[in-house]
């Protein structure tokens, strides 16, 4: 290599774009999480997603621009026909459930099955939302839900993250983990595994 221009190459701006799909039952906070991550704001009111929402989040790190294209599918069954829109070409799929409603965790099985029909390579994530309400549940319920989520995560070979959009807990971390998984990079973040705490399991 002869390098008269090598030092100039630092100026080069590199772009990385990742598509991420948000999947799960209705009213668990998929759109909220997306809006929180992209715009940093949280709105208590519920607005039903009709079809699909789409937002871009760009992050500039020195000479690299990372673009997360976040696609969010309405949780109602009638939007299932738009699932390919969200899951095709996605690098990661967040399977989301409401930590305060066990039924939404149970639905993950079916969502996972559906998504795998369209995208067999996306990195799956199991994300529990409304952690701030979850801590008000009885200890028994917390144990049951946490253990069930861990089992699901193992079965799906997916990282498990409990988050709270309204209180900004583990929101940024989800996307950090996505990026580190997508590029197989080593993350120094500590895992959180104790019941009652916002679970963060991503190593293995």
């Amino acid at each position: 290599m002869n390098e008269p221009h090598h030092n100039h190459q630092q100026d080069q701006n590199n772009q990385v774009a990742l598509k991420i799909g948000l999947i799960g039952d209705s009213q668990i906070g998929k759109t909220s999480l997306m809006v929180k991550y992209v715009e940093g704001s949280f709105d208590e009111d519920y607005i039903q997603t009709l079809g699909v929402n789409f937002m871009d989040k760009k992050i500039q790190i020195r000479n690299t621009t990372i673009t997360f294209s976040i696609w969010d599918l309405g949780g109602q069954k009638e939007f299932i026909n738009m699932l390919p829109l969200v899951s095709n070409d996605a690098v990661a799929i967040l399977f989301m459930f409401d930590l305060t409603r066990k039924s939404t965790l149970n639905s993950i099985k079916e969502w996972y099955r559906q998504v795998r029909g369209f995208n067999k390579t996306a990195i799956p994530f199991l994300v529990g939302t409304k952690y701030d309400q979850f801590i008000d549940l009885s200890y028994q319920d917390q144990v049951e839900i946490t253990q069930q989520a861990k089992k699901f995560g193992q079965a799906m070979k997916a990282p498990v993250v409990f988050c709270s959009t309204s209180h900004s807990i583990n929101v940024q971390k989800i996307f950090k983990i996505i990026l580190s998984k997508a590029f197989d990079l080593r993350l120094n973040l500590d895992e959180i595994i104790n019941i009652g705490e916002p679970i963060l399991i991503y190593k293995q």
Partner: protein, 618 residues
């Protein structure tokens, strides 16, 4: 079976035979025949399942009466069809439709009087081969009272028209057809201006001036080379094969393009005049025999040709003497395009250029063994408006001739001086003159010439915006100081960064969805390179002395970002070198990206709140 429409209409013959017959019989042998019958059939000459057979059945309506008669049982119907098919095959050989016509006619007259077809209708709509046979017979009455009469009959037109109509509209259309018949307006084929237009169109559509095909890419030199270019086995094999296929297509063109205009000569007097006028504008020969015939015919004719295009294509053996005839009979005043492609032994006489040199825009004298500097000096004096000059493989030409061209011609856009031998005859001396006088060069071919970096820098300075294609294959004096330096030059001129993308692309769907985008980060557009912004083809085969590939790769990627695909033609060794360099660069870039991402991902201060605070404040 009910899928077969024949059974539906058994009692009611179809009035629109010419439209329906195609569909009816397509499916017939496959649907209606039992397996036993299939076996019996396959023992005979044709298999019922062969597509060839199905096609021949589908295109014929004589089938129709046969079905009607034998409609009762499946087997008899089938054999009936078969026999009628044979009958039909015979009837095609005889250039007459009388038998077919009569059978069909009786069929229709049973049902509706209005639809009893008269004699011209049947051949026109049912059997094309027969009508062309009829048409080829000489029409004696035509020239008697109307020398410029149309060769097209009006009658079939009307019949087609009727058949499209609903039954309810029958009376109306009948009336209309009578009216049409009564009219005797001149056909468009009798108006000279229109015929001229038509002939021009025929000319554009059918006259292919034989030219060397310009492939998207040059043919790979070997399978390994193809593999390097395309990166996978299938496309590599395809590309090797494709170049063969392309050759074949070219051959087919040569065979098929002739004749359409010649046929137009034979139509009538008007057509003859118009066609000859158009044909005489383009004189194209790619067959020595025909060229000879033409030269001989010139002696007997007083028509003076004024061609705009004169092309001799690959007439390897024609002699200089033939031009003497041309001089006397052909007026080269209007000549714009003179091409003598791979005819090594002839030199167009000076008279060509003395009379019409001012109009000449395109001069292609490829592979001549006679053209020398004196000839080019003569050209430069007579043809100041030359735009295209292609003297590839004219190995007698040296700096002297090209300097003189560069001195006198200021409108050149395409030049090609490529050669395999005697490259040392062409150097910077002549080319810097030519380039400084011609600032709109878009295609420059200097393969094999002993030019140095100076010429390339001249190009960069004078023709930076116009240059699109640059061929520098096998130029031994080039070094890293021209192409790599020039292509990288924009970096030195501005500090702006030039991103190229590593995009994992996704399609943005937009079917009634809520689309929100957030542009926190401004989009950094790539700055255009300082030189050669429009360069799209760069050939650098066999220039082993060029070792600095990074600027070239950068340039290619930057052009791609701007929507210009740069085609880099390299030989195997250089391509391998470039690929390795690309890989190196990608590795460095990836590493940098990874470092950036890691730094971001491991930043503790990321905006998330601590859950301990939440638990504590409860």
């Amino acid at each position: 079976m009910d899928i077969n429409p024949v059974s539906k209409h058994k009692t009611q013959p179809l009035p629109y035979a010419c439209h329906i017959d195609n569909k009816v019989y397509d499916y017939h042998p496959f649907i209606d025949v039992d397996e036993d019958e299939l076996e019996a059939e396959s023992s005979s000459s044709t298999s019922p399942r062969s597509p060839k057979r199905a096609k021949s059945i589908s295109c014929f309506s004589n089938y129709y009466p046969g079905v009607n008669n034998n409609g009762g049982s499946k087997s008899s119907r089938y054999t009936g069809n078969n026999s009628s098919l044979k009958r039909r095959l015979k009837s095609i050989c005889v250039p007459s439709t009388s038998t077919n016509a009569s059978t069909i006619q009786t069929n229709f007259s049973l049902q509706e009087r209005e639809f009893s077809f008269d004699s011209h209708s049947v051949p026109s709509s049912t059997n094309n081969s027969d009508i062309s046979d009829l048409e080829s017979l000489p029409d004696l009455t035509e020239d008697e009272y109307s020398p410029f009469s149309t060769p097209i009959k009006k009658v079939p037109l009307i019949n087609n028209f009727i058949t499209h109509e609903d039954e309810a509209d029958k009376t109306r259309t009948n009336l209309f057809s009578k009216l049409l018949l009564a009219q005797s307006k001149p056909s468009i084929f009798e108006i000279p201006e229109l015929v001229y237009r038509i002939m021009e169109f025929v000319d554009v559509q059918n006259t292919i001036i034989p030219q060397e095909p310009t492939p998207m890419r040059r043919k790979p030199l070997s399978y390994n080379h193809a593999f390097l270019i395309h990166g996978n086995k299938e496309t590599a094999e395809m590309s090797m094969k494709q170049s063969i296929i392309m050759d074949n297509i070219e051959d087919e063109h040569k065979k098929t393009h002739k004749g359409t205009l010649f046929n137009c000569l034979l139509v009538n007097r008007l057509f003859y005049q118009v066609t000859r006028e158009i044909m005489s504008k383009k004189m194209v020969f790619n067959d020595a025999k025909k060229y000879g015939q033409f030269i001989q015919s010139l002696q007997h004719r007083n028509f003076q040709y004024k061609p705009e295009i004169f092309v001799l294509h690959k007439l390897f053996h024609i002699k200089q003497g033939t031009f003497d005839y041309l001089k006397d009979h052909i007026n080269f005043e209007k000549l714009q395009w003179l091409e003598i492609y791979m005819c090594p032994k002839v030199l167009p006489p000076i008279e060509f250029f003395k009379t019409g040199g001012k109009n000449l825009r395109k001069l292609i004298l490829t592979g001549s063994k006679i053209i020398d500097d004196d000839f080019l000096i003569m050209i430069s004096e007579n043809c100041p408006n030359l735009e295209v000059l292609d003297i590839r493989a004219c190995e007698l030409v040296s700096d002297i001739g090209i300097y003189s061209i560069g001195n006198k011609c200021h409108k050149l856009t395409n030049i090609n001086f490529g050669r395999k031998q005697k490259g040392h005859l062409i150097t910077d001396t002549s080319l810097s003159k030519l380039i400084s006088n011609n600032k709109n060069l878009s295609t420059v071919g200097l393969a094999g010439c002993h030019i140095s970096d100076k010429t390339i820098w001249e190009l960069a300075i004078h023709c930076s915006h116009s240059l699109e294609r640059l061929s520098l294959n096998n130029c031994p004096l080039l070094s890293n100081q021209s192409i790599p330096l020039i292509l990288a030059s924009n970096r030195n001129h501005n500090n702006n960064n030039n991103p190229y993308t590593n995009y994992y692309t996704h399609q943005q769907h937009n079917n009634g969805l809520i689309l929100t985008t957030n542009n926190n980060v401004e989009n950094i557009a790539p700055s255009p390179p300082s030189y050669f912004q429009n360069l799209s083809v760069l050939e650098l085969r066999y220039n082993y002395q060029i070792s600095s590939w990074q600027p070239i790769i950068d340039f290619k990627r930057r052009q791609e970002f701007r929507g210009i695909t740069l085609l880099l033609e390299l030989c195997e060794t250089l391509l391998l070198r470039m690929r390795q360099q690309e890989l190196e660069m990608d590795k460095t870039i990836s590493q940098r990206i990874f470092n950036d991402i890691l730094e971001w991902a491991n930043d503790e201060n990321d905006g998330d709140s601590s859950f301990q605070d939440l638990l504590r404040n409860r």
